[in-house]
Amino acid sequence: MCLAIPARVVELLPGDEATIDLAGVRKRISLALVEGIAVDDYVIVHVGYALQRLDPAEAAKTLALFADARLLENPA
């Protein structure tokens, strides 16, 4: 029920809406719950509404955190 998916904004539309792209599937969603969204931003989409903008820098940090486990396992 609370599942939501990250999708890329491809076009901003009037009325606080946007077209998003999800692996080739395009859908019109509402941006009424978020602010300052630009084309090419990734947003978390839930029941037709963007809930948050994804932070690319934080996403990269989390991926680096996963990789730490490997470094600890096999220290150079």
């Binding site: 509402s30 719950l33 037709g48 991926l63």
Partner: protein
């Protein structure tokens, strides 16, 4: 897909699992509750339990809005369609939840009730605009993720001056449910459910932020790690919880920083506070009456409140006696402890709500894990 594929890497998952095994203290067990059905689903679907060392005991929580919706509320929704002749719009999740008298929204629809599945609350508003001669009710369920969209459509209906649209509000709150579990006798006195820490909600936290969980960390001395719904997110959160417990810390940590901030989504929170207020009490399936755990529509928006418009009276209905959903939702029992699991109760013909939603503990175990329990016989 970006932001999904890289969080499902099997090799990395094994590395994190090895790390967890290396850091888990010999002789101790780590009982961790994943509150959300989304996490329960990820654990079952990606076989995370098989990757984890035996020291990690995952306890499924009640964070599946479909599972915790009591029968009486589904009965009310059916009543709105069948007795009041309204078009009832609902998320697909609730369609197959068993109601009283052998009914469900799906079966009521088969009997002629005008029940329509919608993807978004906005679709319900559109249906009201297209059918001015009919009453249209949006059957609103869900945690903090689905609540802001409901607030938006109520305000939208008011702005458009719609007279035929209302909302049957069943929105529930995550922190109240976590408190209830921590305060329950099974956890506090009886010790039937050992709980060392929590994996905190993913998408709920994008709205409410990480701050509301500070209370659990402080008051109950239980660590909370907010995690995304992808398998690597869950594995990393378990590692972070093990580290906190080893070091004797009980803090709120955030693994899902790519979408969750301490404050959450201020715009959405303001909107929700404008339209909704707390209910004194609300019945949850499995947990019973939980004080201040749900929202109702404020008096200023009473024109859009289906409970007021149609004089809806809630009546509590007991679960089927054979169904163990209640104990499973509290983490006291596992799906396989239920006699009807996989026999009478299956996803195709669910007896209890935990078998309905794919995020329910029973449906997740039935779909991805039920054959693991079957002993292999030599031919």
């Amino acid at each position: 897909m970006k932001y999904i594929a890289e969080y499902r890497d099997g090799t990395l998952a094994r590395d994190i699992a090895d790390r967890i095994a290396a850091e888990a203290r010999p002789g101790r067990t780590y009982s961790l509750m994943e509150f959300c059905g989304g996490h329960t689903h990820a654990i079952s679907r990606y076989g995370l339990k098989d990757l984890l060392p035996p020291a990690i005991n995952m306890v499924h929580g009640p964070g599946c809005p479909v599972c915790v919706l009591p029968i009486g509320r589904i009965d009310n929704a059916i009543e709105l369609a069948m007795q009041h002749g309204a078009i009832v719009c609902t998320y697909a999740d609730t369609m197959r939840v068993p109601a009283s008298g052998g009914l469900s929204l799906m079966k009521a629809k088969a009997r002629g009730a005008d029940i329509r599945m919608v993807y978004s609350a906005a679709d319900a508003l559109r249906i009201a605009q297209e059918n001015p001669e009919r009453q249209v009710v949006f059957f609103a369920i869900g945690f903090e993720t689905t609540t802001p969209p409901t607030a938006l459509v109520i305000k939208g209906a008011q702005a458009a001056g719609l007279k035929n649209f209302s909302v049957f509000c069943n929105h529930v709150l995550t922190p109240a449910a976590i408190t209830h579990i921590l305060e329950s006798p099974e956890v506090r006195e009886l010790g039937l459910v050992p709980l060392d820490g929590f994996i905190g909600p993913a998408h709920v936290s994008t709205i409410i932020g990480s701050q509301p969980y500070e209370y659990f960390a402080e008051e109950y001395a239980k660590p909370v790690v907010i995690a995304g719904f992808e398998p690597l997110d869950v594995m990393q959160a378990i590692l972070m919880l093990v580290r906190q417990l080893n070091e004797g810390r009980a803090e709120v940590e955030n693994e899902f920083t790519r979408a969750v901030t301490p404050e959450g989504n201020a715009k959405a929170k303001t909107l929700v506070a404008d339209v909704f207020e707390l209910r004194k009490t609300f019945e949850w399936r499995g947990l019973g009456e939980v004080p201040y755990s749900a929202l109702k529509i404020k008096a200023a928006y009473a024109d859009y409140d289906a409970e007021a418009r149609f004089g809806i009276r809630y009546q509590s209905v007991p679960d089927n006696k054979a169904c163990e959903c209640g104990a499973i939702l509290r983490g006291v029992k596992k799906p396989t402890d239920c006699k009807v699991f996989g026999t009478v109760c299956t996803p195709e013909n669910p007896l209890g709500s935990c078998m309905v939603s794919s995020e329910g503990a029973c449906a997740a175990h039935y779909t991805y894990g039920r054959f693991k329990d079957v002993p292999v016989k030599a031919a």
